[in-house]
Amino acid sequence: MDAFKVLEIKKSVYEGNDGRARELRSELKRDGVFLLNLMSSPGSGKTTTVVRTIEALGAEMRIGILEADLDSDVDARTVSRTGARVIQLHSGGMCHLDAEMTRQGLSGLGTEGLDFVILENIGNLICTAEFDTGASRNAMILSVPEGDDKPLKYPAMFAMVDVLLVNKIDAMGFFDFDMEALRERVARLNPDARVIPVSAKTGEGMAEWADWIRTEVKEWRAS
């Protein structure tokens, strides 16, 4: 009979991805490409915000967009109308992107000559938070119709982001969304996160968002 022995491994499954993400992050730093990972539930306004961001910053930064989706290429077509360089990634049924898929997307896009890339992640608040993509900064959009209780339900996501856009504030009158309660909940999970109320539809708050990006890019370049 075989005598089995116990061999302890004690390794986090995410370790491999975390390592690849760190590598990608430092290569992007070397190449001067600031990568922003944009996450949200389906339909919170990622694509609309991407288009607005290109409008606000396109004159001062060379922007590229990675559109990740399970299947379609609708978002990439919408974004390509702005004239920005864009590529559609299909995740092949995976509900999140990891560092390797992000690397492949970046090489498909071609980062030469770019200084700012936005990754529109797959619409999902759960596992996108668990996989480091190698991004320089992480942003999340919560839209008003989703409710102010989401930090209680998806704490991992709120705890890891650098900035939270609260989108669709033009629709605030139709929902009982308590902005102060939301700010408090976010602050508990993540005291450093910046919260910016915006409407990607009317453009309200977009100047503050663009300023946040400018400041972060500057800080990142100096670091």
């Binding site: 075989d2 089995f4 302890e8 499954v13 509900c95 704490p155 705890a159």
Partner: protein
């Protein structure tokens, strides 16, 4: 479903560990998954056979240990199980808590020779 890609990663890691440690046969692989992780044990079990197919782990059994999802109440500092209490502190009813444990996804050990 996002488990398959991750399980394939796990298999690679274990294969490499086995190679480095001169292990020839792996009887059982033990994983630990936190209750608050987005990885569902049932799905991990379902895709495990596909992930080990054609590898040295083709006959390896899988055992999953679930780690509790505990939170620390922000109001009264009590530690409690988040799922069992449906997200509310059993002492004060507070819903603002900090996660203490439960997001882990670990390769714990192997039974091998």
């Amino acid at each position: 479903m996002h488990e398959l890609g991750v399980v394939i990663d796990v298999v690679h890691t274990v294969e490499e560990f086995a190679r480095k440690n001169g292990v020839t046969r792996i009887d059982t692989l033990v994983l630990q998954i936190g209750e608050l992780s987005s990885m569902i044990p049932k799905y991990i079990e379902d895709c495990f056979p596909a992930a080990v197919d054609g590898t040295v782990m083709a006959d390896t059994k899988l055992r999953i240990e679930v780690l509790p999802g505990n939170g620390l109440c922000g109001k009264c500092a009590k530690a409690f199980n988040i799922l069992a209490n449906e997200g509310a502190c059993p002492a004060c009813g507070g819903r603002d808590w900090e996660i203490l444990s439960g997001k882990e996804f670990m390769i714990k050990e192997i039974l091998a020779c």
